[in-house]
C-alpha cells in the first residue's frame, strides 16, 4: 500500500550533491514527493510502496555521495497526499544552507572530462562539480550559494545554466561551476607583474623546467613551486624564502611517481588519494637534494586542483584519456606555502605580486578570488594516521561531541593556533592560524573568529582561553567576553591537550593521561610540559610531572638546544664541562655562570626540552631552525639505527610521582658510541619510563583508559613505543585522531572544559 515518510537527515549533507543523489534514488525506486535543504540538513517527503520507502532509507546511508557524511536519519510516517513525481524543491522561505563543505580535490568524473579533447571542459582550469572543487575557501557567508562565493561575478553561460538547473545533471546546483566560455581566466605573469605570452600552463611548465620559482594559486592560498629534481632551484627557493632547513613538500602526478623517493604503503596511499589531498609524511627513500635535510620523512601530496593536474598533464605531453595518470610521470615539483618570512599564506593576487617580489620568477594566477585562507593539511600515515596540521580539506568539517550543549568560543594558545566554536553537539575547529605574535597571523585569527561566528550563526555563552596572560588570543578573549557580557574561562594548556582527546573520543568520565609537550603555562605560574594529569569534570589534578630542568635564558633556550644540553650538565653537577663541550658557542662560559647562579633560568618540566638536551648532548642539534627540529633530527638518527634496548636504570620515579630522567641524560653525556645508537636507546628508555610512570598511576587509581597528548606525540617512535607498552599492559589508549596532538588541538580542549564548566 502507498504511504508517506518524512525523513530528516543530519550531517554534512549540504553542498555535496545530496539532493540530486536523493532525486536519482527516488526516481529509481519509483517514489514521489520532494527533497529540500532545511536549517538542520536535508528534509525528504517521499510517497510510495513501503518496500521502496524502506529501500530509500537504507540506501541514503549506504550510498551517500562522496564528501557527504550522514550522522543521523530520523523518519516519521505520514499519510500519502498524492504527489505526482519527485522534485528538488528550493530551500526557500529563508531556510539557509547551514553548512559549507571543505575544499576537495578534483574528482574522477571531472578528471575524465578534463583530459578528454572532445569535452567542452577539456583543459579547463576551473572544472568542478557537486562532488569536488573549492567550497570553504571561496565562500564569503551563508547561505552557501553562488551569490555568496567568489564566483558571484561570473555569470553562467547557457550551457552551464542548463547543467546547474537540471536535477539529473551531476552539476545540479554545483555553486562554483563554469566553463571556458563563462569562467575565470588563468594567466601567467613575470615577477614584475607583466603578462607572459603563450599558453599559461605550457609556459609555466617551461619556466619550472628551466629552474625558475613559480608562485601558483591553489585552493586556500598560493604555493611556491620549483623543479624538485633541480637541487640548485631548491637551494634558490630556500635562500629566497629565508627558510634554511624546514622541509619542503613534494608533489607528484601519482603515488607511482613517488618511487624511489618515498615509500608508500596502503594507508599512505589512501591518504594521498583522499579527496582532502593532504601532504602526507612518508618514509624517505632516495634523497631529493634539499627537500627534507637530515630527516627520515618526506612530505608528499598528489595534485588537488585542475591547475596542478594540468601541469603534470602538460609535462606528459597532453595525452588524451586517463591512462597517463596511472603511469609513472617524471615531473616532480616542490610545493611549499607562499608565506614569506613566517607571514600567513598569501591568498590575494596583488598581495602575491607585492610579497613575492624577489622570491617568485613568475606567477600562475587567475581572477577567482580566494576568500578564506587555508594552508595545506599535513598528516602522517601508518597504523594510526595522525594530523600534524589540520586545514584545507578538513575545515570546516565539524568534530562530533558526545552531546549537545551551550555554545563555546575557544581561542587557543600562541603558536600553531586554531580557534574552536561549538554549536549543539558539533565543534568547529578552524584551520591552522599560525603564530599570533605575527601581526598578519593575528589579523587572520581575528577574521577567522568573525567568519566562524557568522557562518555558524551562534552566540557563544562563554569564552575559553589559555592561562597565559600575554598571549594575544587571551587578551582577545577577555575583550570579547567583556564586550558581550559573557564569562571567560582560563584553561590550563595541558589540561586542554588532554581534554581535546576526551572530547573527540566522547570520553566523559575521569581521564588519566600524559601531556608531553613543548611548553605551556602551568597553574602555578611555572613552565609545564611533561605532565601526568587526572582530568575530572571541568577540572584536573597534577598527579606528577617530569623533574625540572633550568631554561637558561627563558624562551631563548627553546630555540637553542645547546642551552638545554648545558642545563642538563649543570643539573648533573658537571657544569664545568659546559665551555669545553660547547666550545664553538661564544656564550658557553657565560651560560655556565648563569646556571651556576640560577638567574634567568626558569625551571621547566617540558619533555620537549629533554629532547633538546639529548640532541645537544649527542651533538645532533645545537640550534633549532624551526620548532621541534632537534627532536626530529634525533628521531631520524634513531630510525636510521633501528631498534635498540632501553637502559633500564636510566630513570626513576620519586615518591611524589615525579619522573626523573636525569640518569638518562647522564648516559648520553657519557656516550662514546654512535649518535644513532644513543638516539635509539634514548627513545626506547623514554618510552619505557613514561609507560611505567603512567601505568603506575593507572593501577593505583584503578583506571583502564588513558590519554596521550601534546606535541611530543608527533614523534613516531615515542608514540608507538608508548602505545604498545600501555596496550600490552591492558590499557585502552586514547590519542588525538581528528586533530593534531599538539597546539592545533588546544582550542577544542578549551571548549570542552568550558562546556563542562557551564553544565556542572
Amino acid at each position: 500500500m502507498r504511504t508517506g515518510r518524512s525523513i530528516h537527515i543530519r550531517g554534512l549533507v549540504q553542498g555535496v550533491g545530496f539532493r540530486p543523489f536523493v532525486w536519482h534514488l527516488a526516481r529509481e525506486l519509483g517514489l514521489a514527493g520532494w527533497v529540500r535543504n532545511d536549517a538542520a540538513g536535508v528534509h525528504i517527503l517521499a510517497e510510495g510502496p513501503d518496500a521502496a520507502l524502506d529501500a530509500l532509507i537504507s540506501r541514503l546511508q549506504a550510498e551517500a555521495p562522496l564528501g557527504a557524511r550522514v550522522d543521523q536519519i530520523s523518519t516519521r510516517v505520514e499519510p500519502a497526499t498524492g504527489h505526482g513525481d519527485f522534485r528538488i524543491v528550493d530551500s526557500g522561505g529563508g531556510a539557509v544552507q547551514t553548512v559549507i563543505g571543505p575544499d576537495t580535490a578534483t574528482c574522477g568524473d571531472c578528471l575524465r572530462e578534463l583530459f578528454d579533447p572532445a569535452d567542452r571542459r577539456w583543459r579547463h582550469p576551473f572544472i568542478t562539480c557537486t562532488h569536488c572543487g573549492p567550497r570553504y575557501s571561496l565562500t564569503r557567508r551563508l547561505p552557501y550559494d553562488r551569490a555568496h562565493t567568489s564566483m558571484a561575478g561570473f555569470a553562467l553561460c547557457a550551457d552551464c545554466t542548463r547543467e546547474y538547473t537540471d536535477p539529473a545533471d551531476r552539476r545540479f546546483h554545483a555553486e562554483p561551476i563554469c566553463c571556458p566560455a563563462c569562467g575565470p581566466r588563468l594567466g601567467l605573469l613575470d615577477g614584475q607583474g607583466r603578462a607572459l605570452a603563450g599558453d599559461p600552463i605550457a609556459v609555466c611548465l617551461e619556466r619550472l623546467r628551466a629552474g625558475d620559482i613559480v608562485a601558483i594559486k591553489g585552493l586556500g592560498g598560493f604555493h611556491l613551486a620549483c623543479d624538485a629534481r633541480n637541487g640548485a632551484a631548491v637551494a634558490r627557493l630556500r635562500l629566497r624564502k629565508n627558510r634554511e632547513q624546514k622541509p619542503f613538500a613534494l608533489m607528484a602526478a601519482n603515488a607511482a611517481s613517488l618511487v624511489p623517493w618515498a615509500q608508500v604503503d596502503a594507508s599512505a596511499l589512501a591518504l594521498l588519494e583522499s579527496p582532502e589531498r593532504p601532504v602526507v609524511l612518508l618514509p624517505k627513500g632516495a634523497e631529493l637534494e634539499g627537500l627534507a635535510p637530515g630527516l627520515v620523512e618526506l612530505g608528499a601530496m598528489l595534485p588537488c586542483t585542475p591547475i596542478q593536474f594540468l601541469l603534470f598533464h602538460e609535462a606528459a605531453g597532453r595525452p588524451a584519456g586517463m591512462d597517463w595518470l596511472r603511469q609513472t610521470q617524471p615531473l616532480l615539483l616542490v610545493m611549499t606555502s607562499a608565506n614569506p618570512g613566517g607571514e600567513p599564506l598569501v591568498i590575494d593576487n596583488q598581495e602575491a605580486l607585492a610579497c613575492l617580489q624577489g622570491i617568485a620568477d613568475a606567477l600562475l594566477l587567475h581572477d577567482r578570488d580566494i576568500l578564506v585562507r587555508c594552508d595545506d593539511s599535513v598528516l602522517r600515515a601508518g597504523r594510526t594516521p595522525a594530523f600534524i596540521r589540520r586545514a584545507r580539506g578538513y575545515t570546516p568539517s565539524a568534530i562530533r561531541l558526545p552531546r549537545a550543549g551551550p555554545s563555546v568560543l575557544a581561542l587557543g594558545g600562541g603558536l600553531k593556533n586554531t580557534v574552536c566554536l561549538t554549536r549543539g553537539d558539533e565543534a568547529f575547529v578552524s584551520q591552522h592560524l599560525g603564530d599570533q605574535e605575527n601581526v598578519a597571523s593575528y589579523d587572520f585569527f581575528e577574521q577567522t573568529v568573525a567568519h566562524l561566528l557568522s557562518i555558524l550563526e551562534v552566540e557563544p555563552a562563554i569564552v575559553a582561553h589559555d592561562l597565559h596572560p600575554d598571549f594575544h588570543a587571551t587578551r582577545y578573549a577577555l575583550d570579547f567576553a567583556a564586550q558581550r557580557g559573557i564569562p571567560a574561562l582560563a584553561v590550563q594548556h595541558h589540561q586542554a591537550h588532554l581534554a581535546a582527546i576526551a572530547a573527540e573520543h566522547g570520553h566523559e568520565g575521569p581521564l588519566l593521561g600524559l601531556a608531553l609537550d613543548g611548553m605551556g603555562l602551568g597553574s602555578d605560574g611555572q613552565a609545564w610540559g611533561g605532565e601526568l594529569l587526572l582530568l575530572e569534570v571541568a577540572g584536573f589534578s597534577r598527579l606528577g610531572h617530569l623533574e625540572t630542568l633550568p631554561l637558561p635564558g627563558g624562551d631563548r633556550a627553546a630555540r637553542e638546544p645547546w642551552r638545554l644540553g648545558a642545563a642538563a650538565l649543570h643539573r648533573l653537577g658537571r657544569g664545568d664541562e659546559i665551555p669545553r663541550r660547547f666550545a664553538d658557542r661564544p656564550l658557553a662560559p657565560a651560560l655556565a655562570a648563569l646556571l651556576q647562579q640560577g638567574r634567568h633560568c626558569p625551571e621547566t618540566s617540558s619533555l620537549g626540552r629533554v629532547f633538546d638536551a639529548a640532541a645537544a648532548l649527542l651533538g645532533v642539534a645545537l640550534e633549532s631552525n624551526f620548532e621541534g627540529q632537534a627532536a626530529m633530527l634525533l628521531e631520524a638518527r634513531a630510525v636510521g639505527h633501528g631498534d635498540a634496548p632501553a637502559w633500564d636504570d636510566a630513570w626513576h620515579i620519586t615518591t611524589e610521582r615525579k619522573l626523573d630522567l636525569l640518569p638518562l641524560l647522564a648516559r648520553l653525556a657519557d656516550w662514546t658510541g654512535t649518535s644513532g645508537e644513543a638516539a635509539a636507546r634514548f627513545h626506547a628508555s623514554l618510552g619505557a619510563a613514561l609507560a611505567q610512570w603512567l601505568l603506575g598511576a593507572a593501577q593505583e587509581r584503578g583506571l583502564s583508559v588513558v590519554a596521550l597528548g601534546g606535541g611530543c606525540l608527533l614523534n613516531r617512535i615515542l608514540a608507538l613505543n608508548l602505545v604498545d607498552s600501555l596496550e600490552n599492559a591492558g590499557l585502552t589508549v586514547l590519542r588525538a585522531r581528528q586533530l593534531p596532538p599538539g597546539d592545533g588541538g588546544i582550542s577544542l580542549g578549551q571548549a570542552w572544559v568550558a562546556r563542562q564548566k557551564m553544565e556542572y
Binding site: 629565508n242 614569506p340 618570512g341 613566517g342 607571514e343 594558545g413 600562541g414 603558536l415 600553531k416 605574535e437 605575527n438 601581526v439 598578519a440 593575528y442 597565559h468 596572560p469 600575554d470 598571549f471 594575544h472 594548556h493 609537550d517 613543548g518 611548553m519 605551556g520 603555562l521 605560574g525 613552565a527 631554561l551 637558561p552 635564558g553 627563558g554 624562551d555 631563548r556 633556550a557 627553546a558 630555540r559 656564550l587 657565560a590 651560560l591 655562570a593 648563569l594 647562579q597 638567574r599 634567568h600 626558569p602 621547566t604 620548532e627 606535541g711 599538539g742 597546539d743
Partner: protein, 329 residues
C-alpha cells in the same frame, strides 16, 4: 649607620653629610620647607621613588639616578626643571662611606644639571626593612604657556624618533647583578635630558610628545603613547640602535632589548614635516648623537605597536602584563 641609642648624634652626622654636599641658599635656610622665588609660566611637578640594586654600577649610582630620573620626568613635559626635593630611607647598618659617595654623586648630578636640591628628609629603618637606601626625589619645573606635550597627541603619520641606543641602563645593572663579564663593561646611559629637550624644542616647537623609556623599556613607552592617543605604530627593527654588548647580554639572558630600561634616552613623536629638523637638533647635542628615526604612527583602533623585523615580517611589540613568562610551546 644605627638607629637606636646615639640616634641623635647619628642624625646630626647624616645632616652634615647632606649639608656639605648639597648645600645651597635654599637648603641652608634650615626650616621645615624651602621658600622659593615663584617661577614664570605653569608649574610642573614630578616625583619618583628610586630603588636599584646594585646601588653602584658602571656609569652611575642611585644618587645621580635619583636626580636624573626625576629631572627627566619634568623635562619630557617640556618644562625647565628648577628645584629638587629629596627624601632618603636608609637601612640600619648601611655604611656611611657608601652614603657619602651617593650623596656626593647626587650633588654632582644636581650641580651639572643646574638644579639645586632645596629640601629633604632622612629616615633610618630597621635592618631588613629596606634594601640599603631608597631615594625619593621630587622635581619642580616651569612650563611655558605655549608648550603642550602629551602622550595623547600622537597622530597617524607622525615620526617616532629615538635619541640613542636602547637598553644600556637595564643591561648595565643586569650584567653587574648576574656577574656577566664582557670585554668592555656596559655603561648605564643615565643622564639629565633637559638640555637635549631644550635644544629640540627650540628647533622644533611643534613636537607632539616626549617620553623617557624607563621601566618596561621602549616597548612599554610606545604602547602607552599608542593607547593614550588611540593610534597604532610601526617601528623598524633594523632602525633601532642597540649596542653590540647590550645585544649580546640580552641574547644570553633571553631578554628583548625593547623591554629593557633606559635612563637617558628620549622618545620623540614629531609631525612628519619636522622629522628632519628634529633629528638634526637631536644629533647636534652630545646626548643625541646616535639619534634615529625608528618608526611611524599609524591609524589603528586596536592601538597595536608593530615591528617590521629584519626578515620583513611584522610582529606585535608586547606590553607585558608582568615579568616575561616563558611562552614558546
Amino acid at each position: 649607620l644605627s638607629q637606636g641609642a646615639g640616634g641623635r648624634a647619628m642624625m646630626q652626622l647624616i645632616g652634615e653629610v647632606f649639608a656639605r654636599a648639597l648645600g645651597n641658599e635654599y637648603l641652608n635656610q634650615g626650616d621645615d620647607g624651602a621658600r622659593l622665588p615663584a617661577p614664570g609660566g605653569r608649574i610642573v611637578i614630578a616625583t619618583d621613588a628610586h630603588v636599584v640594586s646594585p646601588l653602584f654600577f658602571p656609569g652611575g649610582d642611585i644618587g645621580c639616578l635619583a636626580v636624573h630620573g626625576t629631572l627627566n620626568d619634568v623635562a619630557v613635559m617640556g618644562a625647565t626643571p628648577l628645584y629638587l626635593a629629596a627624601s632618603f630611607i636608609l637601612e640600619e647598618g648601611f655604611p656611611l662611606a657608601d652614603l657619602i659617595r651617593i650623596v656626593d654623586s647626587m650633588a654632582t648630578a644636581a650641580r651639572e644639571a643646574g638644579v639645586p636640591v632645596v629640601t629633604g628628609d632622612t629616615k633610618v629603618v630597621e635592618a631588613g626593612k629596606a634594601d640599603g637606601v631608597f631615594i625619593t626625589t621630587t622635581g619642580v619645573g616651569s612650563l611655558r604657556e605655549d608648550v603642550d606635550l602629551s602622550g595623547a597627541h600622537a597622530r597617524p603619520g607622525d615620526g617616532v624618533l629615538l635619541s640613542g641606543p636602547i637598553g644600556d641602563h637595564g643591561m648595565a645593572i643586569m650584567s653587574l647583578r648576574e656577574g656577566l663579564a664582557f670585554d668592555a663593561p656596559i655603561v648605564s646611559d643615565t643622564a639629565a635630558l633637559h638640555g637635549l629637550v631644550k635644544t629640540l624644542l627650540d628647533a622644533v616647537p611643534t613636537i607632539r610628545c616626549l617620553r623617557d623609556p624607563t621601566r618596561g623599556g621602549l616597548a612599554s613607552t610606545l604602547n602607552e603613547i599608542s593607547r593614550q592617543s588611540g593610534v597604532g605604530m610601526v617601528i623598524e627593527e633594523a632602525a633601532i640602535p642597540v649596542r653590540p654588548a647590550v645585544a649580546a647580554a640580552c641574547e644570553l639572558l633571553g631578554l628583548d632589548p625593547l623591554n629593557v630600561a633606559c635612563e637617558g634616552r628620549l622618545v620623540v613623536i614629531c609631525p612628519p614635516e619636522q622629522e628632519a629638523a628634529a633629528l638634526a637638533a637631536l644629533s647636534a647635542h652630545p646626548l643625541g648623537r646616535e639619534a634615529a628615526l625608528v618608526g611611524r604612527v599609524q591609524a589603528d583602533p586596536a592601538c597595536f605597536v608593530q615591528m617590521r623585523t629584519r626578515f620583513g615580517g611584522r610582529r606585535h611589540v608586547d606590553w607585558l602584563s608582568g615579568e616575561q613568562l616563558p611562552r614558546i610551546c
